[in-house]
Symmetry: C2
């Protein structure tokens, strides 16, 4: 019999969704948006389903803990080596691809279709017949091709684009036209129209988007970061945008979040910021991830979306 | 042997493309951006390939005329009943779907992803975590399902949407979930999240988007017109936007183009105008349409994309 604790700002909605799923062998189901309040509900939970930033506060207080299902893709708050690792950690995967595609292609089309410039013309009562650009025939480079990168690659093909992928070693997504690994990074980036980072925060991805990489992109290129802020050398990115060596950047993630008021990004030209909203966790989606894994847990099967504490994803 | 006259602002580029195609049985190939200049090149052309607004000026001066291939989808300038109709008229089809999809879904994503609002937050140095919307699960209604409508329907399915189609009678696009015809217009529009008109300008489409139709849409709906301006009752649309009974409208086409300076659209809230640029004719695409039809012409086959002068498309 399982005892499940939900820890999320949306705890009430998650509880409703899990109750409706009529889970087998469920002895106890409790939820809260507050770690202290949650522990008042008991310390006998073997399963925690929630936001890593909240879950970290209860790790030490649950002697029976066996499994944590994260509501997020990124699980950094649970990776601190000083914290316990004697449980199975699974993260959210396979649910963010659609939202990420809407985000990335929304901004690429915003750029190509000159939506901002067209609106400025309208404000000036100018009949602006300047030609828009198109996605068709363009080349997109994906830094990281997991489930989100694969969804982006698929959407890119729908729009008639060429797709390059940079991964540690995997080459499993057939919507990627050419794969690059390791020292092939400079070749990967050379001449890309669009560069999109979907990379998690690990020691090998830190500041991978630096001055050397950005110098490989043509001046008309667009850079989008929907992975983690640590993957970008922020000073080099600001320089590239200020000097017109990059047409546009869209950043959903940052080294420090929320972005401090004194940060130069607030004043950087051709930069669009979206404040870590590119793929919010939707309870309807995430509860499905949990329910699927719960059935595997109850029947003794191995869980999906296991996180390797050492790799960080 | 065929004699071809090109009449377009891009005449030089079209001539280069057609010369490179090494067309069989081609006796003469001439091009100009000016009708008067073109007639100085001879009056013995049997084929004209060009922009309807220019072609209309040479119709009466070409005794051997047998075929006109329009560079545009819309051929209104050639439909005036006082003009000759003793030739075969074909229009441009099958080449605008991709560009139209980029346009329509670019603006829908611009709306759902709150790109404008997010930029305003950035200007105000506000860390704005408000939830964006999504295309997934939404319902789009297409007024007109020809080759452009079919492309829009296909793209909509890629984004996980439900698709309704309103047509005179055809039901051939399998990406349309439900078809409506004739008096089913009100049912078609009821509850749509997005309404997109791809309709040509005909007597039966005139002001089809009127107060009655707009009243069927929920207040969060978006209306996009990439067909012809005459399909919209402009006064009713302005009222709906001013009174918040429609969230946003995107207009590429208008009753009068260019839009006169005194037109109320310039001051209408939540209206985005794109000045008839949604799918510009690209010579590389359009020359392929011509070349395909030219081979059919030379070998005596019937041409593709025939326009019925009475129907207007």
């Amino acid at each position: 019999m399982a005892k499940v604790l939900i820890l999320s700002r949306d705890a009430d909605e998650y509880r409703r969704l899990l109750e409706a799923a009529d889970l087998p062998a469920l002895e106890k189901l409790a939820g809260s948006k507050d770690p202290a309040e949650a522990l008042a509900l008991g310390n006998d939970f073997d399963i925690v389903f929630g936001e890593p930033a909240l879950v970290r506060h209860v790790l030490g207080a649950l002697p029976n803990l066996r499994w944590v299902q994260s509501i997020w893709a990124g699980v950094e708050p649970l990776l601190d080596p000083s914290q316990r690792r004697d449980y199975v950690l699974t993260n959210a995967r396979g649910v963010f691809g659609g939202l990420m595609s809407e985000f990335v292609f929304g901004y690429l089309l915003f750029h190509e279709r000159r939506i901002f410039q067209r609106f400025q013309a309208q404000q000036e009562m100018r009949w602006d017949r300047s030609s828009p650009g198109t996605l068709r025939g363009k080349t997109i480079g994906l830094l990281g091709v997991g489930s989100i990168g694969a969804h982006l690659a698929h959407t890119a093909k729908q729009f008639g684009m060429t797709v390059r992928g940079y991964t540690r070693s995997s080459e499993s997504c057939r919507d990627v036209d050419t794969y690059y690994h390791g020292s092939g990074l400079a070749d990967f980036a050379s001449g890309l129209d669009y560069l999109v980072s979907v990379l998690p925060n690990t020691t090998s991805t830190r500041r991978i988007v630096n001055a050397a990489l950005l110098s490989r992109l043509p001046a008309h290129a667009v850079f989008i970061n929907v992975g983690r802020g640590m993957a970008v050398d922020e000073v080099s990115l600001i320089e590239a945008l200020q000097n017109g060596r990059l047409a546009m950047a869209v950043l959903d993630v940052f080294e420090q979040e929320p972005l401090p008021p004194e940060h130069a990004f607030w004043q950087t030209p051709n930069l669009f910021m979206t404040f870590h909203t590119s793929a919010l966790s939707l309870p309807a989606d995430l509860s499905q991830v949990f329910i699927g894994n719960y059935h595997r847990y109850i029947s003794g099967q191995s869980l999906l979306h296991l996180v390797d504490f050492a790799c960080g994803y």
